[in-house]
């Protein structure tokens, strides 16, 4: 196959990938979009096989390894529970990162194959591209591993900070640039390995200071990095499919990070520099004065909601932890039988990754046209009888609008306090990740339901 024809096929895969993302603009077109993505991938792999052309024993090995990886991937895809989606995505990011590192190493060791020159005499431009690809890939790899460990709960979600952290990161970044310069000048392979090793370290250092609740930003950011790494390798391999995809994924991740930061009213740098987040227990304990709260049980909640004409459900990370989405949907079904109008309100940063709550609700068979984003539904709280807050906290805290001293001041919140009564399903009065008390707990129209989200919801169903 001629190089030109090959390039055209890669361009076609690139276009199909664009269509795959375009499909996600609505749930109806999304499935077709995914199919386009699969076809694009099949074309890219197919023409690569044809271009290599020598169907030797090595080719057989390629197929075997492809099958091993594919089977493993398919197995994971079918087994993974929807609540574990953030970890899965973080894990997948790490694989893309490491794959980019491996391809870069391969290209460095054997540059003739990719027309990049010969060992010790690689084209300068290619060297820069492959070291950038390898460096970003390496920090995506270790960064995603840390994110994975934090999401999985193997590592504590609280931020790890130390004095001079940011200067160290800055210094390492400068060293990396210096090393790339030296690599181009001397072509000595030691520098190449050092670049990869330092990048591994940078990945760890970048993610450890970021708290558990900032994970939506971290995941989006790593998504973006994995794209830039792929694009870097795309330049090295002069492959347009890879360049197009890398750019798409890179900008996609960047936009998601931006949306997530905006959802918390924090600047991107503020999140990256970390130190916020985690559960700072000591801080919350000492400021605690006993304020009266209205404590309710499942029967009270059932009574309130049954007699309401409209109910808005506000799910949060707590729902995911308790796996309460199925019970929630049953409760809503029971309410609907009683003629209650029920909708769902999702805050942009609810959960541990963008769109986390939507997927869980979809899993529980909640129709997507009953689920609304913050801007769409926020005005409806004023007309709603009951807001059922399940596992969410900070995103409902009115202090974000009233107290400029508060760490969450300015963050867009769901106006839960405007509804006639508020039901809070929570295990205790403890504050959310921002470490601040929620005023809403002590209001007259708030009823606290102290229990596990799933258990409480099930109890409510019983008494309906």
């Amino acid at each position: 196959m001629s190089a030109n024809l090959l390039a055209i096929f890669y361009l076609i895969s690139g276009i199909l990938f664009i269509l795959a993302l375009r499909g996600l603009s609505s749930p109806e077109t999304s499935r077709k979009g995914n199919l386009f993505g699969i076809i694009g991938m099949a074309i890219a792999i197919g023409v690569t096989f044809l271009s290599v052309g020598n169907f030797s024993i090595g080719f057989l090995y390629v197929l075997v390894f492809l099958l091993i990886g594919g089977t493993l991937g398919a197995f994971i895809a079918y087994k993974i529970p929807m609540t574990a989606m953030p970890e899965l995505v973080a894990g997948f990011h790490s694989l893309v990162g490491l794959a980019a590192v491996f391809v870069a190493i391969s290209a460095f060791l054997n540059p003739e194959v990719f027309n990049l020159g010969s060992p010790g005499n690689i084209k300068i431009a290619s060297l820069i591209e492959m070291s950038l690809g390898a460096a970003i890939g390496a920090l995506t790899f270790t960064g995603s591993i840390i994110a994975f460990l934090k999401l999985r709960g193997i590592m504590s979600g609280s931020p790890i900070t130390f004095v001079g952290q940011h200067y160290l990161n800055l210094a390492l970044g400068l060293i990396l640039l210096g090393l790339i310069f030296y690599l181009c000048k001397t072509q000595v392979d030691t520098w190449f390995w050092t670049i990869i090793l330092i990048s591994f370290l940078v990945g760890v250092l970048l993610i450890i200071p970021i708290g558990g609740a900032d994970m939506p930003v971290v995941i989006s950011m790593l998504n973006s990095y994995s794209g830039w790494a792929a694009a870097g390798i795309g330049f090295t391999l002069e492959n347009s499919a890879l360049i197009i995809t890398g750019a798409l994924v890179g900008s996609s991740g960047a936009i998601l990070s931006y949306i997530m930061c905006k959802g918390m009213n924090r600047s991107f740098f503020n999140v990256i520099l970390g130190g916020f987040g985690g559960t700072d227990q000591s801080f919350s304990e000492k400021g605690k004065e006993q304020k009266p709260v209205k404590n309710g049980n499942a029967d009270d909640a059932a009574f309130l909601m049954k007699n309401a004409s409209s109910v808005i459900i506000v799910p949060g990370y707590g729902m995911a932890v308790a796996q309460a989405q199925h019970a929630l949907r049953e409760m809503v079904d029971a309410l609907k039988k009683n003629g209650v109008k029920v909708t769902y309100a999702i805050h942009p940063v609810a959960g541990r990754m963008p769109g986390h709550m939507n997927v869980l609700l979809a899993e529980a068979n909640v129709p997507y046209d009953e689920v609304f984003e913050l801007e769409e539904i926020n005005n409806d709280f004023a007309n709603c009888d009951v807001a059922y807050v399940i596992g969410a906290n900070d995103v409902t805290n009115p202090v974000a609008k009233s107290d400029p001293q508060s760490p969450i001041y300015g963050m867009p919140i769901l106006d839960v306090e405007k509804s006639k009564s508020v039901l809070f399903v929570k295990r205790s009065l403890s504050p959310g990740y921002a470490g601040i008390d929620n005023d809403l707990f002590y209001r007259d129209n708030t009823l606290m339901l102290f229990a596990d989200a799933k258990k409480m919801t099930e109890d409510i169903i019983k008494s309906l």
């Binding site: 995914n34 054997n110 798409l248």
Partner: protein, 102 residues
């Protein structure tokens, strides 16, 4: 005077960033999780490089160091491609519209 092919690739890259920007802003927020898993899958098109790397060189020794890194990258990328597309499909299959009330 001839234009360096690098400039063409850079053009593709920059234009794709713009396409990505507009396409991703049109993605509905409720599908942000599938967006992440599908971008994951498509960025594994890096497997193309891995295949070339794995099959590079003479057929005398197919497990040269450079090839081994290629093979490893194939496994990693394949996990991602199959895992990413399938899990996206699984998620998207769950998004349903409201059925007619009984």
């Amino acid at each position: 005077m001839e234009i360096d092919p690098f400039v063409f690739r850079l053009s593709i890259f920059i234009l794709s960033i713009f396409i990505g920007y507009y396409v991703v802003w049109s993605v509905t927020p409720s599908l942000h999780t599938p967006l992440m898993s599908v971008t994951n899958a498509i960025s594994s098109v890096i497997i193309v490089g891995a295949i070339i790397a794995a099959l590079a060189g003479n057929s005398v020794n197919i497990f040269d160091t450079a090839n081994i890194f290629g093979f490893l990258a194939i496994i990693l990328a394949a996990v991602n491609i199959f895992g990413g597309f399938l899990v996206t499909q699984r998620m998207l299959a769950m998004y349903k519209k409201k059925k007619k009330e009984k």
